[in-house]
């Protein structure tokens, strides 16, 4: 009876998570530092007990202060100074998750999101900034688990990989995230 009560209570899952980001590829080459500034908001409507569909929103900020160094352009011009590199990532996806053990205390899931991701890159040096941006077509696989604390509240842990294909001013941008947060179940 307890299991059926828990199953029927899960209809609309809203997940708020703190997100840490790890850049890969071009993003990882530009900013090697881990991002500790990020969050995600995920909404899933359980169309079946083990299938949820919805939307994902997120924001991760990557930043690195580069040491005083010399950068050479076109072979005959050298520029020396400190660079401050920022990159903001805004994924906006529709997503679906498959829950392996609905109704149990620990409910693993895996899913895929598809949509768009906006990248905004600022490279600051002296009093100038080089700004590059792009709206990427994005894919986002994820795995994680819901850890139920009460019928209406769970903890969430997940790993996601965002991949934005080449677009605008930027090459393809990709990064992993580790996410920890809360899940609120609204009926």
């Amino acid at each position: 009876m307890l299991v059926s009560t828990l199953v029927s209570a899960q209809n609309n899952l809203t997940t708020l998570q703190y997100s840490m980001g790890f850049g890969t590829g071009d993003l990882g080459d530009h900013i090697s530092k881990t991002s500790f500034r990020g969050f995600t908001i995920d909404y899933r409507k359980l169309v079946q007990p083990n299938v949820g569909v919805g939307v994902d929103l997120g924001w991760n900020v990557f930043y690195e202060e580069m040491p005083y160094a010399t950068y050479t352009t076109n072979g005959s011009t050298d520029i020396t100074g400190k660079q401050y590199r920022y990159q903001n990532q805004f994924p906006m996806l529709v997503a679906a998750d498959y829950y392996l053990k609905p109704g149990e205390k620990i409910n693993p899931f895996a899913g895929l999101g598809i949509g768009t991701m906006y990248s905004l890159r600022n490279t600051d040096m002296n009093l100038y900034t080089l700004e590059q941006d792009a709206w990427h077509f994005a894919l986002r696989p994820e795995v994680g688990a819901l850890i139920q604390a009460s019928p209406d509240f769970s903890f969430s842990v997940s790993a996601k990989y965002y991949h934005g294909f080449e677009a605008g001013d930027l090459a393809s941008q990709g990064y992993f995230t580790l996410n920890f947060g809360f899940v609120f179940d609204g009926e």
Binding site: L16, R37, G38, F39, I41, W59, V61, Y63, E65, T70, G75, S76, T77, D78, I79, T80, G81, K82, Y84, Y86, D124, M125, N126, L127
Partner: protein, 195 residues
Amino acid sequence: MLLALGFFLGGCYPQGPEYVEDLDVVITNHNADYDFSAKGTYAMPDKIVKITGNLSEGDAPVFIPDAVAAQILSQIESNMNDLGYTRVDIDADPDLLLTPASWETTTILYWYDYWYWWWGGYYPGWGYPPVNVSTYTTGTLVMALVDPTIESANGNPIPQWTGAINGLLTGVYDPIRVNKAIDQAYTQSPYLKTN
């Protein structure tokens, strides 16, 4: 909750540079086809001209204070000596001419806070919103190495090497910042070394 998360993340957004020297930059450019190793002597003035808008109107040139210029020229000469050059008088037919110049640029930022006109208590009706103003001034020192035997089609000399240093001015001359930047301009120009 979304708004709160946004404010939270905005509050811990990385702040960037903390000190004015973090914004100092050194830029050098050279003619890759020019053979500096075949040169040995150079001439340099005893003053550093300060480029202002009045020169084009025929006014007399302005120079930076002699005490400051002496320090800058001394640092330049030290670096040129390390590269193997000998400073000579302008009448001694030098291989190169080193022409330093400087200027200041003041940027004025102003913006209107449009939300103010909503507050009838400050500006009843359609009163003007307050204007916010901020300014900053940057200083630039340019060092150009010119071969007196090479001119452009219009008769002007062509710099074979140009070094420029730029940074925010604080109102107080900081020889450490300036000397460090001058040294860096020559450090990143090993092709200047003469035999």
